[in-house]
Structure formats: C-alpha cells, structure tokens
Symmetry: C2
Subunit: 518 residues, 2 copies
C-alpha cells in the first residue's frame, strides 16, 4: 500500500468520506488512490476557494469534517480566504495539501513555496508528512485535530514521495469518528449567571456557536420566560435554527450605532458560546466594543464548551425546568407583494415561499439585511453566515451544505459583488446536480462600501471613488453567467417576477439561479 492509499484508507476509517478537490500533478497519487478505493465522494471545484468554502459549510451541516485536496502553496493560497472563514466558524476541516517530493524541495522549482507558512495563519494544526510510513498516523492526528471542540482547521502537507512511497501494511484505524467531549462548564459559572439573572438588573444572554441549535435555543427560551432576560445571538452565526415553532430573538445588528443602541439597555451580558461583542470594523471616534460602558460582560460558557449542558444547568438553577419558552415564532406566510424589487419586498417573497427545512446561506451583505427579521415566521430553516467576513463564501458554502444535507433545499442569498469572487461554484452545483437556489441581489455596486465610505468619515464618494465601488460598467449578466456553467437561471425585474422565479427554483431538484435586479 502506498502512502496515498494509506491516507485515503485512514480518512475513510475515521469517517471522513467527502473530499472537495482541486488537484495538480503533485496530488496524482492521491487521485489514483481515490480511484482505486471505494467510499470517498470526490467533488471537484474549478477554483480552490470553492473547495474550502464548501468544506466549511459541509462541517456546519454534517457535524463532521470533510477533507480538501489542494495543489501546493498556491492552491492553498487560493483557498485561504474561505479557510479564514472556516477557522472563525470553528469548522473542522482536514486539508490535504500536496507538496513536492522532499528531495525536490532543495531545487527550488517554480511551484516551491513555504506551504506551512501559508497554512499557519488559517490553520489550528499544521504538519508536513516526512515519509510514507508516517502518513496513517499523521492523518489520524489531523482528523483528531479537526474534531477538537469546537472544531478546527487541520492542514496536512503531503509530499509526493510520501504519497508514492511504500507505507507498509498500515492497519486502518477502527475508531469511528468521535469528537473530543466538550468541556463541561464549571458550576461556579452557572451559579454566578443564575445570581445575575435573579437580581432584577436588565440582563442579556448572548448566544453563539452551538447554542444556536434548536434544542439549546429552546432551553434559552425557557430561561428567558422565567427570568425576563433578553436573548440575542451574535450578528454572525455558524448555524442558527430558526423559523416557525422555534425560539425567536434578534441578532446583534451589524451597524455599529445600531449595535450599541441594541445593547444599551443591559447592565449584564452573559455570553454562552458568544464573544464580547465588537464592531466589525473600526470607525474614527466610535468604540470598538459594543457593550455599554459599565456593563458587566461575563463568559458563562465558551464556544468549545458543552453549551447544551450549560444552558440546561442554568435553566435548572433559575427554576425554569418546567417553563415554556417565551417568544416562540408562530408560522405566518405573508401575502406575496407586488411592485418594484426592494430589499423589503425580497424579504417578504422569501418568507412566503421558503421551503420547509431549507438551509439558507446568507452572503447578501447590504441588500439582505431586511431578510433576517422578516423571515422569523417562515417555515423552519437553518441560517448560515460567513464567520470570518471574507466574501466569496456564499456560493461555495451552498455547495458544501447541499452535499452535507442532500434532502434539504439550499437557498443562497448572494450580493452580486460577493458572488463574483467564487462564481466558479456554479459549475460544481451543475456537475453534482445540487439542490440549490441562488438568489443574486443585483444592485450593481459594492453597496456596502458606498455606505461605509461615509461611515469611516471619508465623506461622499466623488467620481473616481464611485467608479471603484460600482459594478455597472459593464453590467454583469448573471443569467448568462449561470447558463455558461450549466446552471439554469432567470431574471426578475419586479416582485411578481421574483416570486415566479423563486418558485421555479424551489420546484427544481437541481441548481437554479435568480437574478433580482434592484
């Protein structure tokens, strides 16, 4: 058995059965091993950002890591932005990055680069294999690292000679994939939080990470009902289970003034899987921390802790075991609106038509802000956002979510600007026949930057600045773009058209793109 076969067998034995790939020459033995060994689903991306973004969302939906296959340092570099997002989301990923055969490295061939150096800023764990015999143990360690709570990016660098060399009779690992148990939260934390919730001061429980799953939210809702505290989630959430029948609460707003205003009423903020809220960017003369001055911010449970157990313990401590949650969203599908396309109108249409149990990938940036509040009463769904803020995440994430959850409809909400970073994801959707409806918010600008320009105190964009922030010369034709990569598509110029286009997408079992012209 060569090293590449040893790697594939080890990954499979550990439960890693999906590989998002963009291979090159140095990875051909790995490809050959995938060819010979059954069990790994291989999904080709035309660009590495597709590969890594897919792996991020795959983890969030499957709750186990996929592997990636990337070609040397530049291939890893192309995947870097979405690995940054994945790391901030605590998504477990096992990157396999090919490397030249070790004796070839001293020759400094054109593709030679410092792969570990490129990997380190976006990886929690990095190792370069030194021999074929070491591949299996290194791969086991990589999977273990990826599974370490709350989930980590592990990068295993595989030199070509370790792939083609003899690995010996490596016994495949027999352990089924099992994440390291999450750390229980200390009783002292629970007691302190319960005291705060009982003392009558205005208190917010801020939820993040796995505390945004349905069961945890239900427990949080019981605490809210019992104590009168407020609930919010962080603005960015790896996976928020929401919609009809689920506990409903707002996210901390994105805009710094709105966030400060939303948090202003609270004397205490209890963090459960969330972090002390900070603004996304710095602005002159505005604070970076969003909690009001004098507010007591307490970490009850960190994102890698056992958040379910922590919430249950807290519910018990405040006597909410039998309490019904407050603020459960009631199902309500709004009437379909008519007229010109506006962000609010889009939100209503999406809320009215969203399929049961959909997975919503939200990279709608500026134009999608109205969607969160408006869809609280839509059919139950999961809501995933980029966690690292690097755009070009949405379409790849839709690929990964659709592969991890093949029975569910994926709706990708995409800004036109952000869609263009990793537009190649459409081809993978077509190739794999993925059940994804893509909704492009075609405002034909980096609209968020037109707002941020004033926000950072730069005034009003003049002609040269506006030219750098607008995407209207030439206009992008997303319908033609989608079709060129094998994805059927249609354009909507008003809300009636949008509804009929979305219906068409939702009725299809394959990918469909809707360009909504704002």
């Amino acid at each position: 058995m060569n090293g590449a076969e040893s790697l594939v067998r080890t990954l499979l034995a550990q439960g890693v059965d999906t590989c998002f790939t963009n291979p090159g020459t140095s990875e051909m033995h790995f490809v050959a091993a995938l060819d010979r060994i059954d069990g790994m689903r291989c999904v080709l991306g035309l660009f590495e950002g597709v590969v890594t973004g897919a792996a991020d969302a795959y983890y969030r939906m499957a709750r186990k890591p996929a592997s990636t296959l990337l070609h040397l340092g530049p291939g890893l570099g192309n995947g870097l932005a979405n690995l940054h997002n994945a790391r901030k989301a605590h998504s477990g990923i096992v990157n396999i990055v090919g490397e030249h055969a070790l004796p070839h490295l001293v020759l400094d061939a054109p593709l030679t680069s410092d792969i570990e150096g490129i990997a380190r800023p976006v990886s929690d764990w990095v190792r370069t294999v030194q021999s074929a015999a070491e591949v299996a143990s290194a791969a086991r360690d990589a999977v273990a690292a990826a599974l370490r709570p709350p989930g980590q990016v592990a990068t295993l660098v595989l030199p070509a000679d370790s792939a083609w060399g003899e690995a010996g009779q490596v016994a495949p690992a027999t352990t089924a994939m099992a994440a390291t148990p999450r750390t229980p939260v200390a009783d002292a934390n629970i007691d302190a939080a319960a005291r705060i919730l009982g003392d009558g001061t205005p208190t917010l429980i801020l939820l993040g990470g796995a505390a945004c799953f349905e069961a945890a939210l239900h427990t949080a809702g019981r605490i809210q009902a019992k104590t009168g505290c407020a609930l919010m989630s962080e603005f960015y959430v790896p996976r928020l289970q929401r919609g009809a029948g689920r506990v409903n609460f707002p996210r901390v707003p994105y805009a710094v003034d709105a966030a400060s205003a939303a948090l202003a009423p609270y004397r205490n903020i209890l963090l459960i899987g969330a972090r002390d809220p900070v603004s996304f960017f710095a602005y002159p003369d505005k604070p970076g921390r969003q909690a009001p001055l004098g507010c007591h911010v307490m970490t009850v449970a960190s994102v890698g802790d056992d958040l379910d157990a922590a919430l249950q313990a807290l519910a018990d401590a405040v006597g909410a075991r039998q309490t019904a949650p407050a603020s459960v969203a009631q199902a309500q599908r709004p009437a379909l609106p008519s007229g010109p396309i506006t962000p609010e109108g889009i939100a209503q249409v999406v809320c009215a038509l969203l399929p049961e149990n959909a997975v919503v990938i939200d990279e709608s940036v500026s134009a999608g802000r109205a969607l969160g509040p408006a869809t609280a009463q839509a059919a139950p769904h999961d809501w995933l956002t980029t966690m690292g803020g690097a755009i070009g995440w949405g379409l790849p994430a839709a690929v990964g979510a659709a592969i991890a959850a093949p029975q569910r409809k994926v709706l990708a909400l995409e800004g036109d600007g952000s869609a263009m970073y990793t537009i190649q994801a459409l081809w993978t959707m077509a190739r794999e026949g993925l059940d994804v409806t893509v909704l492009i918010f075609a405002n034909r600008a980096y609209q968020i930057l037109l707002g941020e320009y004033a926000g950072v105190g730069a005034g009003t964009p003049g002609p040269r600045a506006a030219h750098m922030l607008r995407l209207d010369a030439p206009t992008l034709d997303f319908v033609a773009l989608a079709r060129s990569m094998g994805v059927e598509a249609g354009r909507a110029d008003d809300l009636d058209g949008l509804a009929s286009q979305l219906r068409r997408g939702f009725a299809s079992s394959g990918p469909y793109l809707v360009e909504a012209v704002l």
Copy 2:
C-alpha cells in the same frame, strides 16, 4: 494631509501611477485619497487574483511597479497565488494591504488575521505602518524595495487609523523612480566563461530574466556565431522578445525526459540570468536536475546582475564585437491551414495572423506547447509566461500587460481549466476597454494532469480519477461567459473558423474572446 493622502502622494512622487484595486471598508480612506488626488490610474478587479496577476505583468511590460490595494488578510490571500508567480518572476510590486485600526486588533473582530504571516511567503519585504506620520517614509521604502534588482514584491500593511490620522506636512519625495543599479558581473566570471567558450567542448548558454530582451539576445547571438555554442532560454521566461528579425533559439522543454535529452549534448552550461535547470515536478526514479551528469554548470551572471553588460563583456572577451548574430529568425507567415482544430493547426493560424509587436501571454498549458516553435518566424512580439507555475495567471496578466502597453495588441493563450481560476479578469478587460484577444484552448479537461497521471507512475486514470480531471460535465460555454461580463466573443470549431475569429479579435481595439474547441 491624512495618512492615505500622504501615501498616494508619495507613491505618485515615486512614479507609481497605476493601482490595481479591490478595496473594502478598511481601505475607504485610501479610495477617498485617490478620489481627491489626480494622477493615479485605478483599475478595479472583481477578485484579488486579477489585481495581483495584473500587477505582475504590468511590471514586466512597464519596467516599473504598480501598486495594488487589497482588503485585509483574506483579500491578500485571494491574491497570493499570483503574488507567488510575481515573486518568482522578480516583478516589482507595491502591495497596499488595509488593516484594522491598530487599537481594534486586540478585539479580534471577524476579519482580523495575521496579515504579515500571510504576506511573508510571497513577499520580499513586509512592513506594517504604525502611525500616519510614518506612512510617507514607509511608502518610499516599499517602492525602493520593489525596485531592488531584479525586482521584488513589497507588502505595506496600512492600518485604518494610519490612513485617517493626520500625517503632517509630508514633503513629497522628489526622486524620480530609479531602480538600484544592477550589480556588475566580476571580470573573473567573464574570463572563466570565455575560456570555456574557447576550449572546444560543447557548451550551452542558458538565458533567463532580462537576458531575454532583444538587445541582450542580439549580443548572445553574436557570441553564438563566433564560438559555435548553443543558446537556449529557460522554459519559463518573464518576457522573451522574439519573432522575425530576432535571435531565435529553443526554450528548455517542459517535459522532464525531453529536457534531459535537450541538455544531454552539453559539457558546460553557462547561466546568464538563468538558474541551474530543474524539472518542474519530481517524478519517481527521475532526476530533478536536468543537466547531464558531469556537466559543468556555471553561474556567469545572476538574474539581478547587469546582464546586458555581462553579455557585452563576454562578447568582447570571445572577440565577437563585430560578429553578426547567428540564427536570426526570418519573417515567414505560413499559409492558413484548414480542417479540425489541433494544437499544431492553432499554432499555424496564430503565427500567420499575429499582429506586429503583439504581447503574447501564454497560459495555454498542455495545448499550447506547439505554439512556441511554430511562432518563431511570426511578426516580432513579446512572450510572457507564468514564472511560479500557479495557474490563474494568464487573464489577469493580460489585463496588466494591456494597461502597461496600451499601443500593443495583447494575445492571451489560455487553457480552459486555467482560465476558470480568475475568469473575473474578463470584466476588467471590458470595463477598461483593453486591447486583448483571448484564445481559449477548450479541450474540456485538465489535459496536463491526464498526462501527468501516467508520468508520476499512477497508471491510467479509472472512472473516478477521470471524473476529477475532465471538465466536460457540464461543458463550459466560454462565449456566454465572456458576454456575461461584457466581452464580445465567438466560437471556432475548425481552423477556418479560428482564423476568422482571431481576425475579428485582432481587428477590434477592445477585448474579444475566441473559444477554440479542440
């Protein structure tokens, strides 16, 4: 004057007057400064790989650096692969990478990352500005670093508070852009090389870097005529001036066996701006160095040295001052071929139609191998290839070359697979009205990998491997893709069609894409 204005004024005073951009919130003050200050041409890319690839080719054609503007670590990450290529090409680039305001960094906001860590593997020089007052001197240092022979990638990290903070009355630098003088080559090297050339043993002069410019090649041709030595260039060349009237010689072949065979006759290899030739990848049981065993390989002049002077000194030393160069290519335009599209047929059509003084960007990978030899007698042209081997370079490079050389036709030879990595470059071509004809070799596969698969000893691809290496399900429609981004396009299914499509592209003054279906 704020820091951003200080930066723009300093760059302009140093002669950096072109900025390839993909900005975000943290860069808005820089955008505002560009808005207020005349003189900088700003070229927007929809993806950062477009930005950095354009800057690489811009340097090669303009012989001075452009700046880039990139958004934080992920934006830099997206540009990493083409910065790798630029660094291997010794292209001078001044990257401006925005960063959070320094006090914001400790808050670890979503987009916070180790920017210097991401930059270092692809940069020769990295610095993070610490205050607005320091911006001007840091920018001068960055430009100086970019200009240091043979050209370097300099990355300047600009925190937002250094951009918006008061920089004082910074006196713009008055020095015109001037590269550090290139190191003269020691007489001992020239003497040793001359002795080798005179001793009658089979000797090859291997040329790279600036030794591939017309004047240097002319000198090399005189040495060849006088001494009977052979001339070659490295397989990858940053810029090779060739075609009718110029000294003609082969490149070292890409394929390892062919390269070894081509170098086998020589007892001496004299390197002038070139490196000891090595194979691109390692293959089991094949040597990495391509020179024959026992061959004496001598570095006469390194890529950063004064290669013109070294060649002239060597010509004088061998008594070739008055000798006419051997092997000057005679103009010959072949008759246009007919029939199905083959790599050889494409080469003939391109040779017949190539406009005078064209700039050829070659990322044709496997299908374009026939083009080099076949176009030796075409009209004079410059030939640029990726130097780092990271694909996704060609279309961005065509953007940069067209901006640096607006009076010249740019012909981009692109594999279909490689085109898809940075396809967004087409939009920038349309937006800027660039005089680029793109020729897509649509073989609908990662054809090179189908060959490399056997080359590395992995056998014949089975169905799963072939699925990962073919791009035919679904087929990419490059004509629709181009039009969706505002670039006019046509498809050629036979050689007659190819000739008429290329004529159409060459007759246009704007971008035109031809999809040649192989």
